[in-house]
């Protein structure tokens, strides 16, 4: 940057034009990378205030410019004021969100490194691509997670070993329902209604077949897979950061998901009583 400023000072107008081009490109690349990092953070389940803070810090570290960042769980808007007047804005809409806390940690680490000035934009882009290509939770690992959660929490809520083993099986069923529903791009509320219903039917089936004893323990243990813990935590942390809009969105999400689980399980329970 320094040498470019010198050239401007020399009054070389042609150069100045090129410099303007370079600067515009620079601004574009900068907006691109901060938007990508912001999106990636939101999609991996980071808090909204973390996204806003990271983006404005990166802009300050790279361009020594002030950025206005607005993030809600479904959208990121970044606006950078150019030194010569005018501004550049970029908006990204976010449709699918998951939970990938390892990626949140890696992105957080990337932001720290950028803010310490260890990386330029090109290198940061490379590091981001590396993070994107790495570490998605493989289906095998996620199945193991669902089984462990269902098994351990059934015991935790006071079920016996047969209950826990049945819960492990319903846990696998819950995983496949979530997987298929995600492929079909179903709404989170709908996924939870269906998953709650199927888990309840399986648990009632297992108990009436004499494989287990407590319907309630099996269902509670398996439903712990679907409980909206991330939404609740992030809602509270966003509200404390003064981000009420994002906090409210997450709070609504948590309430809706919890209600949906109860609704699905309740409907299935009623169905089995009618039969």
């Amino acid at each position: 940057m320094d040498c470019i400023f010198d050239e401007i000072a020399a009054g070389d107008e042609h150069r100045a034009g090129v410099w303007d081009g370079v600067f515009l490109l620079d601004c574009d690349a900068l907006l691109d990378i901060v938007c990508d990092i912001g999106c990636e953070l939101l999609e991996s389940g980071a808090e909204t205030y973390r996204v806003e803070e990271s983006v404005s810090r990166i802009v300050r570290a790279f361009g020594d410019m002030e950025a206005s960042v607005f993030a809600v769980p479904t959208c990121v808007i970044v606006s950078i004021a150019r030194t010569g007047g005018g501004s550049e804005t970029k908006t990204r809409r976010i449709y699918a969100r998951g939970t990938n806390l390892d990626r949140v940690e890696r992105l957080n680490d990337l932001c720290r490194r950028i803010c310490r000035g260890e990386l330029d934009i090109e290198q940061a882009r490379g590091a981001l691509e590396e993070i994107r290509n790495q570490d998605v939770a493989t289906p095998r690992r996620r199945i193991a997670g669902f089984i462990l959660i269902a098994f351990a929490f059934t015991l935790f809520f006071g079920g016996g070993l047969p209950d826990a083993l049945c819960a492990a099986v319903t846990g696998v069923a819950a995983f496949f329902i979530c997987l298929v529903m995600q492929r079909l791009e179903a709404n989170a509320v709908f996924v939870n209604i269906v998953a709650g219903g199927v888990i309840m039917l399986l648990a009632v089936g297992a108990v009436s077949a004499g494989l287990a004893h407590n319907i309630d323990k099996i269902v509670i243990g398996t439903l712990m897979n679907l409980v909206p813990g991330v939404a609740l935590t992030n809602a509270m942390r966003d509200i404390m950061a003064g981000d009420y809009l994002a906090g409210q969105t997450r709070m609504t999400e948590a309430l809706l998901v919890a209600t949906a689980i109860a609704l699905g399980a309740g409907a299935a329970l009623m169905l089995t009583r009618l039969l």
Partner: protein, 151 residues
């Protein structure tokens, strides 16, 4: 034994959560965040003498939240990683289920009772997280002012 086994179960369950949230063993994240879950439930059970599970949940979540902030500072990882997992055993899953069951049974008294109780626990968890993250923000600002880094 009354404390050991539930804590062990919540530890195993939290490892399951780490797997499905894609938390890796890097930086001890997997073990430490699961240990947070066990720690929370241990505090909950140790405060059992109060016979009030809303207050028990509140105290437990405060301990978990402080633990996550400390671990976040020690290992330079976001506090949410530890907090999200540590919170899980305290989430009133049983409350949600029994509320629903009473509703289906048409037992209105118990439905209201359990429903409000469940809501109370969820509220206690929220307030606990709010208080600790608010306190940490204050400490951060105090630290920044001490260093003379005024923005």
């Amino acid at each position: 034994m009354d404390i050991l086994f539930p804590c062990l179960y919540s530890f195993i369950g939290c490892i399951g959560y780490c797997l499905s949230f894609n938390i890796r063993p890097r930086k001890q994240m997997l073990l430490l965040s699961s240990a947070g879950g066990a720690l929370g439930w241990c505090v909950y059970l140790l405060c059992g003498g109060m016979k009030n599970d809303i207050i028990q949940s509140f105290l437990a979540i405060i301990v978990v939240a402080v633990y996550s902030e400390i671990m976040a500072r020690l290992y330079k990882a976001p506090a949410t990683v530890y907090l999200v997992v540590g919170l899980i055993p305290l989430v009133p899953g049983g409350g949600i289920y029994y509320t629903m069951e009473y509703c289906i049974n048409g037992d209105m008294m118990n439905f209201m009772d359990t429903g409000i109780h469940t809501f109370g626990i969820a509220g206690a968890l929220s307030i606990g997280i709010l208080l600790v993250s608010g306190g940490v923000r204050l400490l951060n600002v105090v630290g920044r002012l001490r260093r003379g880094d005024v923005r």
